[in-house]
Every structure is written in C-alpha cells, then in structure tokens.
Symmetry: C2
Subunit: 388 residues, 2 copies
C-alpha cells in the first residue's frame, strides 16, 4: 500500500430479498418528478417494472418514462434523455436494469443541465461536471459492471465510431442502489456466465499489476475465491440464492474503487476484449474470457511472482518442490479448467472473429501501461492469433 489516495463511496446499498421495500423511504428524500429509466422491457415481463411503478405511485410521484436504453447506450439516446430530464424538472432518475441502464442514467444526470454538448465535454474532453447534477438511484437486475456503486459511464457514438467510458467523481455515484439477487434469476444462463467472467476480469485487471505488498491485492484474492466457489454453484443451479447473492455482492466490490486503492492496475484484457467486441458485437464478458488465457500466458513470465502467488492464494496450488514457473502455470491451468467448467467462451472464433479480422482488431486495441508487460503491436496480434 504505497500510493497516496482518496477513498469515498457515498452510495447506500440495500441488499437482499426484501431490498425493494426500502425504496419508499428513499423516495421521501427526493421531489415529486421521477424519471424511470429502463432497457428493452424485460422488467415488464418479470414483473419488476410493475412493482417499482406501484411503489412510485403509492409515494405520489409523477413518473416520466424513458425506456429502450440499449445494451451500449448511444450519444443520441443521451441527448434525448437529457432533454426529457430537463423539460420535466426531474428530481430523481431511477435506473431499473443492469450496467447499461445505470451508466446511461448517470450520463443523463450530468447532461440535463450541461451548457455544452455532453458527449464532447465528458467523453471527448473528459472534463469535470460543472452543472447541477440530478440524483440517481438504481434497482439492479443484472450483475457484473459494478455501475451500481461507482461513477463509471460508457457511452457509444456511432457517427464517430467511438465507445468511451468516463469515470465520474463521487458526486455522480448513485445515491442508493437496491440489490435483490432474486431479480437476477430470469437472466439467461449465457448472460449470467458472461457476467461472472466480467466480474472475474475486473478483479484480475486490478490484481495483475505492481510488485509491492498491498492489502488491496489480498482483498482481491478473497473476492476471487468467493466468486470461484459461487460461480460453480450458480451454474449448477441458477436459483441458488446463496451463490447468486455472493456473486452480486462480489460484483459490487470488484469495481467500486476499493481494490485499486494504493496500487497500479492493468486493464489490457478489457482493451483486447473491447476491440474484439467492436468487430463481432459479442457479449462483453465472453470477449474477455476468449482472450484471457493467451494474454495471461503471454505476460506470466514478466510477472512471475504475482502469478505464482495467484496460483497458491487463489487456486490452492501446492508449491512444495516446484519452481515458481511451474506453480504459476499450474494456477493458470486451474483457472482455465474452471472457465471451461462454468461454460465460458474460450476462443474468439466462437464469437465470430475470423483470421482476416485480426489485423483490424489489433489496430483497435489500446495499449495500457500498468500491466507486467507493455505489449507491442506484434504481441497483440500474437495474442489474438492464440485466441482464435
């Protein structure tokens, strides 16, 4: 724990089967006009929409609806949402959905009263917020992004062919988030598994960086161990409440800034995966799983100590009588075997990537500098080839 840092996370979380019961009391803290933001309408099928609307009405709120938030929310949609929020004098934006709906709601919250073009200001110029911010609350129905307790917001601009994330400060974090693991039961298994690997990858991106002895890495190891156990149980029985609740809680703490405190981070797997996603439109978590093993095998020699530690502390590899390299390799084999066991996609060809795309994907891959090896272009291409 060497660096200077600030930790602040004001989001209040209500967790458990009865979590939605807390919404009424929270609503008392805000004015009458509530903007209800949601995605493609699955919340109408599983009844969560009806439950939320009933509570809003019982609390005497005026509801302004903004549905149809797409998996990758667009700048065009953001302009519309900001206009709706402003013209209806919205007092609270209530996001009901997964990471995209939360991300979008945060972007709207800082755009409604923004005097400039919010895409340019926040996502091109990465400027701080200088206007009034509409408070955001979340009712989470999908797990993985951690958007329920952080300032992250990713917006896509199709005209400019850009997908950019801004990490806002704690004044933009959701004021409250309602986390009921049962609300995630109706998610298809493929999406659940992809979400699990998204969580895993969030933790590993922060873990595989730096050489100091750092409490954050020990917390990360704890989260990883919990996730590994719960993922196995959830894949066997998606309605295993214990497993789904552990996964939900792990997801929140995997990306709410805690495990990055005082240390450097990598995020290269996300760079590779996002480039694959741009070419294949595949599910985010699966793009990460499909590039992970070739990436980690490639950088392992440069971060041997940490990979050996990972093998022992996370995968229970017995190091006795083995070289560091053997221990590290055994850890990656255990990881690979777990990934296959829970049904993750292990090759980008299974996501629709073809050999002729590799050059383009490699060019689209941003090179980060926090990992154990700063990749060059040839290495990126090599890793992508291995991932095919």
């Amino acid at each position: 724990m060497l660096g200077n840092f600030t930790y602040s996370n004001p989001t209040k979380l209500y967790f458990g089967k009865d979590a939605l019961d807390s919404l009424s009391a929270e609503l008392e803290n805000y004015g009458k006009n509530v903007m209800l933001v949601y995605g493609g309408g699955s919340i109408k099928k599983n009844g969560i929409y009806q439950k939320v609307v009933k509570i809003l009405k019982a609390c005497g709120k005026n509801i302004v609806e903004d549905g149809g938030v797409m998996p990758n929310p667009t700048a065009e949609k953001l302009y519309e949402g900001a206009e709706i929020a402003r013209t209806h004098n919205v007092d609270l934006i209530l996001a009901v959905g997964g990471g995209s709906v939360c991300d979008y709601s945060k972007a709207v919250s800082v755009s409604a009263y923004c005097k400039e073009d919010p895409w340019d200001k926040y996502f091109i110029r990465f400027e701080d917020v200088s206007c009034d911010i509409i408070p955001v609350g979340c009712v989470l129905t999908m797990v993985g992004t951690g958007s329920e307790m952080n300032g992250g917001s990713v917006i896509t601009n199709h005209k400019q062919k850009l997908k950019i994330g801004h990490v806002f400060g704690d004044n933009v974090f959701p004021k409250f988030s309602i986390l009921n693991p049962e609300f995630t039961y109706t998610l298809p298994k493929y999406q659940m598994t992809a979400g699990i690997y998204d969580i895993m990858s969030h933790i590993l991106e922060q873990y595989f960086s730096g050489t100091d002895d750092n409490t954050s890495d020990y917390i990360a190891e704890g989260l990883l161990r919990s996730l590994i156990v719960s993922a196995r149980a959830a894949v066997k029985n998606p309605e295993d409440y214990e497993a789904r609740s552990n996964i939900m809680w792990t997801a929140t703490w995997a990306l709410n800034t805690l495990i990055a405190k005082g240390k450097t981070t990598d995020w290269e797997v996300h760079m590779l995966g996002q480039a694959v996603g741009a070419y294949t439109d595949a599910t985010h978590g699966m793009t990460l799983s499909a590039v992970s093993m070739p990436y980690y095998r490639h950088i392992m020699p440069y971060g041997l100590e940490k990979f050996a530690r990972y093998a022992v502390n996370v995968w229970n590899v017995n190091p006795d009588g083995k070289t560091k390299k053997e221990v590290a390799e055994e850890g990656l084999i255990a990881m690979e075997s777990w990934m296959k066991e829970i049904g993750l996609v292990m090759n980008i060809s299974d996501l629709g990537a073809t050999e002729d795309m590799l050059e383009g994907i490699a060019s689209a891959t941003f090179i980060n500098e926090g990992g154990y090896k700063i990749l060059d272009k040839n290495e990126v291409t090599e890793i992508l080839k291995e991932s095919l």
Copy 2:
C-alpha cells in the same frame, strides 16, 4: 450471503504521506469554529498538533481546544465537551488522535444539542439521535479501533462502573478521516503490537460465526493474510512504510461494517478481554490476545468446518491426508506461533490477573450468542483459568 442488510459508509478517507494536505480543502466545507480534540499531548511532542493548528489558522478558523481525552473517555469528560461545543457554536469537531479521541468526538457531536442526559440516552437506553449533530473529522495517529470510519463510540462511567459502546448510524460517522501511516511511527512498540492484535481480533470476531458460504468471510480472510504479513514486517522495522500502511488500511476495513454484512458475528473474545481489562486496566489489545488461544481451542470442536477452513485459507495449512480436526489444530498452532513471534501477551497473569480475580472476571464477562458455542459460566471460568 443470506441476510438482508443495508450498507452505507459516507466517510471520505485521505490516505498516504501527503494526506494532511487535504485538510485545507475539507475545512472549506465547514464554518469558522473548529473544536480541536486530542488526548494526552503526544501530538504536541511529535509535531502533528503544530501542523494541524497551522492549517486551521491559515484557513482562518477559530480554534476551541479540548485536550486531555483519556484512553477510556469518561461520561464526565463528555458532559464538559458537549458544553464547550454548544457554548462555542462549534461548526466542526476535529479529532486528532486514536480511537478514544475519535470515539469521544463522535459522542460530543451527538451530545452538544441533546436535550436529555446523553449518557442515559445513548449509552444506557441506546436511543437514536434526535438532535442536531456537529460534523466530525479525524486525523488518525493510532491504529486499531476503526473508529475513523464507523459509528462506534465507547464511553466509561466511573460512578456507575460501566463502560458501554454505542454504534451510531452513518449520520454520526466521521465526515472525513486523514490517514497518514507515518503519524503512527512514534507509537511505542507495545502499543503498536497491541493495536495489531485488536485488528486481528476484530476480523476474527466477525469471521468465526455462521456456517453459510459468504463473500464477507472471504474478504475477512484476505484482510487476515495481509495483516499477518505486515505485522511481521512492522515488528522487525516499525518504520517500514509498506507494512504500516497496510496495517492502517486493514484496520479501517476490519471494522467499518463491510465484513459483517449478511452474516452473524461472535465478539466473545472482546467480552472476555474487556472483563479482564476491568480488573487489570491492561492495554485492550493485549487482553484480547491473552484470552484468545484458550477461547478458540475451546470453541473449535463446535465450529470445526470453519476452523479447518481458517487453517487452510489463512495459515496455508496443507490439508492432504489429515482429519478436519488435525487441520484446524494446525491452524491454531500457526496462529499461536505468529502471536508469540510478534510479541503479544499470551497469558492474563502477565497483565496482572490473579487466580482470586477469576470469579469476578467471569461474572463480568457478558455472554454473546453469535459464536459457535454459547458459553456457560463454568466454561467462561475454565477459559480464564487456561488463560492464566
């Protein structure tokens, strides 16, 4: 992760060698009258007092001093402090010290405008706060209690022979805390080591309870592993910044509510240790260490699964070919050996307890019901005998 729960922790933390530089900006959020609370004056010797006063003056604050907070802050002192805060229209209470100074400052913050007797209201009747609360900020100079990021406040009433803790809600948590590991360097080694075991005990009290698979326990294991490594390094070299910073950060997360979320907890070691403390006036952390091994050996058969898990996940015990009991015992042996290595007190006789006190200490020991075995009076006496 089975229970319903709420998580909210609004304390903003500034961590690192330059953390005090953030004080000026924080002070802008509060009015002119700052009550400066500290203990016996060690902060004047190590220069922290002078640094803080310089910043307060540079920010144009009126300083109202309230020094002399004792290691176990008293109800009498609380009455005085509340009077000072009220008559001086204090806008911010700035606690500069360890857990006692923070605890006391929180108690003053909810007592200044309390219409009733605050001791009776908060510490006898455990009522919620119903008056205005003066915001509290902390500059931490001792590590262990976690008071810098929670609502805990322990006050002692000598007339009534009572020492009682109230856990206030998040409206009483410090608004901000400044954590510079270097500020803890001047603490004598005995106090540092006692603080380390206080942290260890906070984690174990929350860990050794319950049988479900729970993310909180995995996070606890991570914190324990970090603490074990850092404690060894800090004892060798108290100015090892990496170690001291990891210990400081672990202390905060050991008792800021996170690792108790969704689970039951025990706290029986604290009940035993506090009773020993009442008879010997020994340092809190050492009373905990002196009773821990007999207590854990006594309850181990009732929580065998968890103790075996503890041995493997925290102490790297290799379970191959061993019974659960053998694994669990090996874990406790490893723990005991670490405790001796870092210089913890292992017997209550070394703290001044004598055989003729045992009856009284046993009677003063409150019996909790969250652990693996609800003790009866004979068991308490037995454990204390073993601790002699």
